[in-house]
């Protein structure tokens, strides 16, 4: 080979020119909007913007991933790793509903909601708990049915 890789002339590590100009364009536009965004409570807004990313990446995600891993490990310890799904799916759905609607479910905006809209603010926690009950109950029922079906399938073959 005439030109071995390490003999290639060293180019300053810039990257693709398309990528560079596109990103510069993006930053310029973000800067134009960003200076307007930050015209108010500058510190608070930066905190929310950056904090949202950090809170998600370094707290929320490790938290739910850790809980999920612990659940899988716990089922694995009793040799029923395949059952983990029957807990993690309803837990994920119920947790997601809580994540999205926590101000109403937790009642922290109940007074404002009631006085502004003339609607009851009491039902949210109860409805979330009922949905959670249905999700876990449905999951348990499904597991039960599947085990039952497997058991009835196995029985005739055992008799033969």
């Amino acid at each position: 080979m005439l030109l071995r890789p390490q003999l290639r002339p060293r180019v300053p590590a810039l990257g693709s020119p398309l990528q560079l100009s596109l990103l510069a364009c993006s930053f310029a536009l973000a800067g134009y909007a960003g200076t307007r965004l930050l015209a108010g409570d500058r510190f608070g807004i930066v905190l929310w913007f950056v904090g949202a990313a950090l809170l998600h990446d370094l707290v929320l995600l490790p938290l739910y991933a850790g809980l999920d891993r612990a659940a899988v490990r716990a089922f694995g310890a009793v040799g029923r790793r395949e059952w983990a799904g029957y807990v993690r799916v309803p837990a994920a759905l119920s947790g997601l509903l809580l994540l999205v609607w926590f101000p109403l479910i937790g009642g922290q905006t109940a007074d404002r909601y009631r006085s502004a809209t003339a609607l009851s603010a009491n039902g949210f926690l109860g409805r979330w708990l009922l949905i959670t009950a249905v999700l876990f109950g449905g999951s348990a029922l499904l597991l039960l049915l599947r085990r039952l079906r497997r058991a009835t399938k196995r029985r005739p073959s055992a008799e033969n």
Binding site: S26, R36, V50, A52, H56, R81, V100, A118, G123
Partner: protein
């Protein structure tokens, strides 16, 4: 030895990330859904911004220093009358529905947050910085939106400028990311479709570092994957199911009656506020707006109409003596909920304009009895005043307006955002939008 084991256990070690679900194809599918979804969110968001007619008058404009970001503004039409109901319903319901997709997408790429070295080149460093705007921007927009529709005003400032300027910062990063990544995502999806097994059940497609079917190493797949507990198809099913659950428990808030009851956890879901002709959704009650019975009393209340020929003061009885007209129109809120058509009856805005010397209706500046609240004063454009369905309503659904729906008189304009349908109207100044 200790150092090595510490490094392999830290998130900076590729072996730390063990889920066999991660992979370029999983990410590509979520990415393409978000590409379409977020584009639609952005467009409907821009439409909602235009629907307020911010260029018409200072009172309508919560972002006076918008500069070129308002380049596309146009006179908001009155047809079709359900236009804002549709665009804003899509904006909010789709936004809520996309939350699981966004979370799954962020989960699928989180190992890249910890790649070493932090930057391979200037472009790579800039791209990572841009990802902070992308992720921070997405979460900022979704969070402010979700909090605002629940009336939880904990964010640092007024919702309008935060959500509008935040959207542009986010979209700037989103655009660069979409242009840089969409070709790869589409290529991955094409290969996924072409390959006989597609997303395989074991989730073992795309071994890291090995040229996969795409001819490129799968940089998102785990280097030492754990035994799968769920297939990639199963994981996608969970994301789709979660979206479906959020959609099913939210979408009903755009309709009256039994459909609204299906919106189990969403604000303005569930039961209507009371029964009878006034039993439909209320944005702000009279009590919340600080409207007292004394000032809306027949003896006390006068509608002050000002125009070219001077000022006219009208009692409610005098308004009733004018030609009354009916129109069936919905109330559609920026928070994404709306009502079905209500049957309004009252005086045409253009008849009131004619009363003060405008045969050709001009813009109008509307003032409410409300003493606080950001839209107690609002301007309507000439096309909205001229529309024969635009009323100063006195009745709704065959009965007098209730206090919560704006008694003694309220504005109702086809396709306008709810807050521009001013309640408890005290004064109309034609040709005087400021």
């Amino acid at each position: 030895m200790a150092r090595t084991s510490l490094l392999t256990r830290s998130p900076f070690a590729p072996s730390f990330w063990r889920s066999p679900v991660r992979g370029t194809r999983f990410t590509a599918l979520l990415g393409v859904v978000l590409l379409g979804g977020i584009t639609l969110l952005f467009v409907t968001g821009l439409l909602s911004y235009a629907a307020y007619n911010p260029n018409l008058a200072a009172v309508n404009d919560k972002t006076p220093d918008k500069g070129i970001l308002g380049f596309y503004l146009f006179d908001w039409p009155t047809d079709p009358p359900w236009l804002y109901r549709l665009t804003q319903g899509i904006h909010v319901t789709l936004g809520v529905t996309l939350i699981p997709v966004l979370l799954a997408k962020l989960w699928s790429v989180v190992p890249k947050l910890f790649t070493l070295p932090p930057a391979r080149s200037l472009a790579h460093a800039l791209e990572r910085l841009s990802l902070l705007l992308l992720v921070g921007g997405a979460l900022f927009e979704f969070t402010t939106g979700v909090l605002n529709i629940q009336l939880d005003y904990v964010f640092p400032g007024s919702f309008y400028p935060l959500h509008f300027y935040g959207a542009w910062v986010f979209f700037a990063a989103f655009l660069a990311h979409a242009i840089l990544r969409t070709p790869t995502a589409l290529r991955n999806l094409r290969h996924m479709r072409d390959s006989a097994d597609g997303v395989d059940e074991t989730g073992k497609t795309g071994e890291p570092g090995e040229p996969g079917k795409t001819g490129e190493p799968d940089e998102l797949a785990a280097s030492t994957p754990a035994d799968p507990t769920v297939s990639r198809r199963g994981a996608l099913g969970l994301v789709g199911g979660a979206s479906l659950l959020l959609f099913a428990t939210t979408a009903g808030r755009s309709f009256d009656g039994p459909l609204r009851r299906t919106a189990l956890l969403a604000p303005h879901g569930g039961a209507e506020p009371g029964g009878g002709p006034g039993g439909f959704q209320i944005n702000k009650t009279a009590a919340y707006a600080g409207i007292s019975a004394a000032e809306t009393d027949t003896e006390a209340w006068r509608l002050v109409v000002t125009g070219r020929t001077g000022t006219v003061r009208l009692t409610r009885a005098a308004l009733r003596d004018m030609p009354l007209h009916s129109s069936a129109l919905p109330i559609a809120c920026v928070e994404g909920w709306s009502t079905s058509d209500q049957w309004w009856r009252g005086v045409r805005l253009r008849d009131l304009a004619a009363l003060v010397g405008y045969e050709d209706p001009p813009d109008v500046f509307v003032e409410s009895l409300q003493r606080h609240g950001s839209f107690r004063h609002a301007a309507l454009r000439a096309n909205q005043v001229a529309d024969p369905r635009s009323l100063l309503a006195l009745d709704v659904n065959g009965e007098e307006l209730t206090p919560d729906h704006g008694y003694p008189a309220r504005v109702i304009v086809p396709a306008a955002p709810g807050v521009l349908n001013t309640k408890w109207v005290a004064r109309l100044t034609f040709g005087g939008a400021k």
